[in-house]
């Protein structure tokens, strides 16, 4: 699971965003540090939606923020259209970062409670001196009434509406890549369906590239072309959505899928595929990080970290003993 390596990256000219060997670390007290993201690589082609899935603490949100350089990663490379973001500083970074925008999980915390909705959405135009017409266009594109938005504040809106505001705000500076960090997990299912549909519409209308982060595999599959599975700061598996769900090769991916009740998939019960709880990210296991919970763990998994390798056409897995050839 350790899933290091960059074998799965596509040629640079095919992709808009290319992340290689990303490392994000935080101080954990007493001189120690947590490597929330530990050598993660992935890329996204223009117009594609990459889903990133994993449980809490797997580093998916830290990775998203590191893409935005908020804060910049400890190590690794983030290239947007060939421009190395990690090498940029100050004004240059500010200008380039604008092409990446983000939508966050918490609809309430995402919006400044003291500002009016329209001002929140218009922030991007004011920072960059764009015309005000784009504000109304975006408000309408996400299904909000510009007249109401001019007078209301966030607390007068529901969670789903707040999330629409966040999306409109992120689209105002005309980004190429939209990073959605758990954009629907705080919402009710009926509202979730609305937001997922809206994201699909906007993606086509504004030719967006999406990085969609969530813990719910069914949601991720619904919006993604490819899915990346993360565990404890590492990559486990990468495959087109249908392949990943129908032919999961990594033991962790299989465990994730089998834990979903009534998934309609033919998998053994999840307690046969995964045991225990995630280990501490401060002192991760040696070798493969999943081995402490993996029913297939062998001595080799302890000593040798598996690297990403292809087991099929565009199906990559970081495991010494992947599940293969089963229906």
């Amino acid at each position: 699971m350790a899933g290091s390596g960059t074998a799965h990256l596509r040629p640079a000219e095919q992709v808009v965003l290319r992340v290689a060997d990303l490392v994000v670390a935080f101080p954990a007290g007493r001189g120690r540090e947590v490597r929330a993201v530990s050598g993660v690589s992935f890329d996204v082609a223009r117009g594609e939606t990459l889903g990133i899935v994993g449980e809490s603490g797997c580093g998916k949100s830290s990775a998203a923020r590191a893409l935005m350089q908020l804060p910049p990663p400890r190590a690794g490379s983030v290239r947007l259209d060939g421009v190395e973001l990690t090498a940029l500083r100050g004004e240059e970074l500010r200008r380039t970062r604008r092409r990446l925008q983000m939508v966050f999980q918490d609809p309430i915390s995402s919006l400044n409670p003291r500002r009016r909705i329209r001002d929140i959405v218009a922030e991007g135009t004011r920072v960059w001196g764009l015309g005000d017409s784009r504000v109304d266009e975006m408000l309408e594109a996400v299904g909000l009434d510009p007249k109401t938005a001019a007078v209301r504040r966030p607390h007068e809106f529901s969670g789903g509406q707040c999330q629409r505001v966040s999306i409109a705000r992120a689209l105002v500076p005309e980004p190429e890549v939209l990073i959605c960090d758990e954009p629907v997990s705080a919402l009710d299912v009926s509202v979730q369906a609305q937001i997922l549909g809206l994201l699909e519409d906007l993606k086509h209308r504004y030719r967006l590239t999406l990085v969609f982060i969530a813990h719910d595999l069914a949601v991720v599959k619904n919006v993604s072309d490819r899915i990346l599975v993360m565990y404890l700061g590492k990559v486990c598996e990468l495959a087109p959505s249908t392949v990943l769900v129908d032919h999961p090769a990594h033991p962790y991916t299989r465990a994730l899928l089998s834990a979903i009740p009534r998934s309609g998939l033919d998998l053994p019960p999840s307690d046969h595929l995964i045991t225990g709880e995630p280990p501490s990210p401060v002192t991760p296991p040696t070798g493969c990080r999943f081995r402490t919970r993996c029913p297939k763990a062998a001595p080799r998994c302890e000593s040798e970290e598996p690297a990403m390798r292809a087991i099929d056409d565009d199906h990559w897995v970081a495991c010494h003993f992947p599940e293969q050839g089963e229906e």
Binding site: E55, S56, M68, L70, R94, R97, R98, Q101, M102, F104, Q105, D106, S109, S110, N112, R114, R115, I120, E123, G124, V127, W128, S158, S166, R169, A170, V172, P173, D188, V189, S190, Q192, A193, Q194, L196, G197, E200, H215, L217, A218, K221, N222, V223, S224, D225, S241, T242, L256, A259, I260, P261, R262, S263, G264, L265, S270, D271, G276, E277, P278
Partner: protein
């Protein structure tokens, strides 16, 4: 917002305004000058000419108090503004920049706070003289470090929120982020503390003046007046009383105003306590019979009286639950599913609550229990697990102490026995190394482990019914599976009933025997899980099922969208509450509330009901149609069957024979799949 400030705020503000105006207009007000001696007889008590009397030199006390307010308020307001002027920018800088700036500024504040304040005041007055300016500077500078700390804390909490991150992603510069995003959010807490700070400064100035370290005579100050009056207190107590009372009222007013402003910004606790006394205005309960079941809820209602109307959080819900079975309550947020559990348990927030309906545990009416008796039932026979395990765990006590307490209180165990039983309980919920876990604090455990501990606590006294309100919503999917498996296993081992509240239909499909679908505080469909999910009748249930993405569907498949928003519980739509969002609604749905109808019966006839209205409309008196008998095809049922409690089961819908197979019921005039076996609704979500 202004309403929430309350009368204390307005009385306090008014007093401050009066004192402030008097101080400003002191020279033009029709009264003697403060230093005019023999304006009246010396040491005279209050009179018409001198409302507060005169002092030893015959000077008008009212005039002196009013003039004294100039110094007192001037120092109070001035010192706070000066402190803010110095402290606030440093605090914002430290909180926003963090790192080196934070370390240096905070080290400086720590040193400043360690400096003895009185020595500083004495030194300044000794060297620079006691003038208004010097007092202001002393108090302002002394207050600045506290302001730095306070503003830094407020800035930190704002700077961590996502909207600040979003502003940086948009490319806003630091200066813009500070002014647009941070400062407006720091202003409110700062303002509330400013008022409290003014109270402190007024008192401090009074103290300094009393010691003779403030503005010198002849300029009057409140503290100085008290000091002067002290010498002749026996002869003229009003000389001390008048400035003291005015100062007391002013300080109190500043504190009240600051306190109310702070309450506006503070997050309010959701006080979960057994209701102290039965609400005076109880809602009527439809006639029903107590069935021979473990738990029976009959026509339960919980309404809150809010400023904008009566919020009908739970509005006539009936259900029954047997041992060894799991009943799931599903619905979106605001459907009343959590409030249903709290209503059953009698755990309602304080405030004006109207309650109705009955809860029977093995035939005993729990709603008739006094709070003391109800408390003994909670935890022993009825136990609950909530979404956030930290609400049930005390963060500063060890797991072992918390687990042992109910065992010792309710089951009378010795300390040693309780400890052994606690370890046994932890082992039963799958916690490895229970002995070690007993010595730990909640924060040392993972979310999944904490939830296991709360389940162990809930099970400690062997409850008959376990209420689980979204127990796994905060947990990861692999842990969720483990916890739900655990609950399922324990249900079997302990022969309990489980009432599970969840928004996740796949969880419900997997683990529940029966399901109750709630919308706007009412039950809209219920029955055996497989029946309800596969032969869905109510369009709302159908829409919910179709809105959930499925793993077996291809990517980019459009999900069913339920248009509109859940209704405002204080202003429910007429008729069926779902009708504004329902694609099958017709005029009848907007006028008549559909009752719960057995799915085995023929569907209601289209158009106006022919043979007697099944529901005589939603009557104005609030009688719920949910318990009216199902509309039989062969006869008009009466609206409410009159019955005495002795009569067994007068209402089919109220007491379904749940001990065998619960009936599939729905509330809709235009059910899906009616008439035919399975229709498009059932096919498209076939699980």
């Amino acid at each position: 917002m202004l309403r929430r400030l309350g009368p204390a705020f307005w009385i306090g503000s008014a007093w401050i305004a009066v004192v402030l105006a008097a101080g400003l207009l002191a020279d033009v007000l029709p009264m003697p000058r403060y230093d005019e001696t023999l304006a009246g007889p010396p040491q005279a008590g209050p009179s018409a000419a001198h409302p507060l009397g005169t002092d030893g030199l015959g000077r008008d006390v009212l005039s002196r108090v009013v003039h004294g307010s100039r110094v007192s308020l001037g120092v109070g307001v001035g010192a706070v503004l000066l402190g803010l002027l110095v402290g606030a920018p440093l605090g914002v800088l430290a909180g926003y920049r963090r790192r080196a700036a934070d370390a240096v500024i905070m080290a400086g504040t720590d040193i400043a706070l360690a400096f003895p304040a009185l020595v500083f005041a004495l030194a300044v007055v000794a060297f620079a003289g006691a003038s208004l300016r010097n007092v202001l500077i002393v108090l302002g500078v002394l207050g600045a470090p506290a302001w730095t700390r306070l503003i830094r804390g407020a800035t930190l909490s704002v700077a961590q929120r996502e909207f600040v991150l979003a502003a940086r992603a948009l490319g806003a510069r630091d200066r813009r982020i500070l002014w647009r995003e941070i400062v407006p959010n720091v202003t409110m807490p700062a303002a509330s503390y400013a008022f409290i700070g003014m109270a402190v400064a007024v008192v401090a100035e009074g103290g300094l003046a009393f010691l003779g370290l403030s503005v010198q005579a002849p300029t009057p100050t409140w503290g100085g007046l008290i000091n002067e009056g002290r010498a002749i207190m026996e002869n003229a107590p009003h000389l001390v009383l008048a400035p003291s009372v005015v100062m007391f009222l002013t300080v109190l007013s500043f504190n009240l105003v600051g306190d109310r402003l702070r309450a506006l910004t503070a997050v309010r606790e959701s006080g979960l306590e057994p209701v102290r006394r039965a609400a005076p205005a109880s809602l009527p309960t439809a006639p029903h019979a107590a069935g021979d079941v473990l738990l029976q809820v009959a026509d339960l209602r919980t309404h809150f009286v809010a400023p904008h109307g009566t919020v009908k959080a739970v509005d006539g819900v009936s259900l029954t639950l047997e041992r060894g079975r799991t009943l799931a309550v599903v619905g979106e947020s605001g459907s009343g599913k959590s409030m249903l559990i709290r209503s059953i348990l009698g755990l309602l927030p304080a405030g004006q609550v109207l309650r109705g309906g009955k809860v029977y545990l093995e035939g005993e009416d729990l709603t008739a229990y006094p709070p003391e008796r109800m408390r003994r039932v909670l935890g022993t026979r009825l136990a609950a697990v909530f979404q956030d395990p930290m609400t049930a765990l005390n963060p500063v006590r060890r797991i072992g102490t918390q687990l042992a307490e109910p065992l010792r209180v309710h089951r009378g165990m010795s300390r040693r026995q309780a400890r052994a039983e606690a370890a046994r309980l932890l082992a039963s919920v799958g916690i490895p190394d229970p002995a070690r876990t007993l010595r730990r604090y909640p924060h040392e455990l993972s979310g999944g482990m904490r939830q296991r501990v709360t389940i162990a606590m809930a099970l400690s006294c062997g409850p008959d019914v376990l209420f689980a309100d979204e127990p796994t919503t905060a947990l990861d999917v692999t842990i969720q599976d483990q916890v739900l498996r655990l609950v399922h296993r324990l249900r079997g081992e302990r022969d309990m009933a489980v009432l599970l509240v969840s928004h996740d239909l796949s969880v419900v499909a997997e683990w529940a025997d029966e399901v109750v679908v709630m919308y706007a505080g009412r039950v809209v469909e219920r029955g055996p899980t497989a029946e309800v999910l596969e032969r869905t009748r109510m369009p709302y249930t159908e829409a919910l099922l179709q809105a959930v993405p499925k793993l077996t569907d291809p990517p980019h498949r459009r999900l069913r969208v339920i248009t509109g928003r859940p209704p405002d519980l204080a202003a429910l739509p007429s008729g069926c509450a779902f009708h504004p969002r329902c694609p099958h609604a017709d005029p009848r749905c907007a006028t008549e509330t559909p009752p719960l109808i057995p799915a085995s019966d023929p569907p209601p006839a289209a158009g106006p009901p022919a043979a007697g209205p099944p529901a005589a409309g939603p009557p104005a008196d609030g009688t719920p149609p949910a318990h009216q008998p199902p509309p039989a095809a062969d006869g008009p049922p009466s609206a409410v069957t009159p019955s005495s409690p002795a009569e067994p089961r007068p209402l089919a819908a109220a007491v379904p024979p749940s001990s065998t197979a619960p009936e599939h019921l729905y509330a809709c005039w235009h059910p899906r799949g009616a008439g035919t076996a399975i229709t498009e609704g059932a096919e498209s979500h076939g699980r």
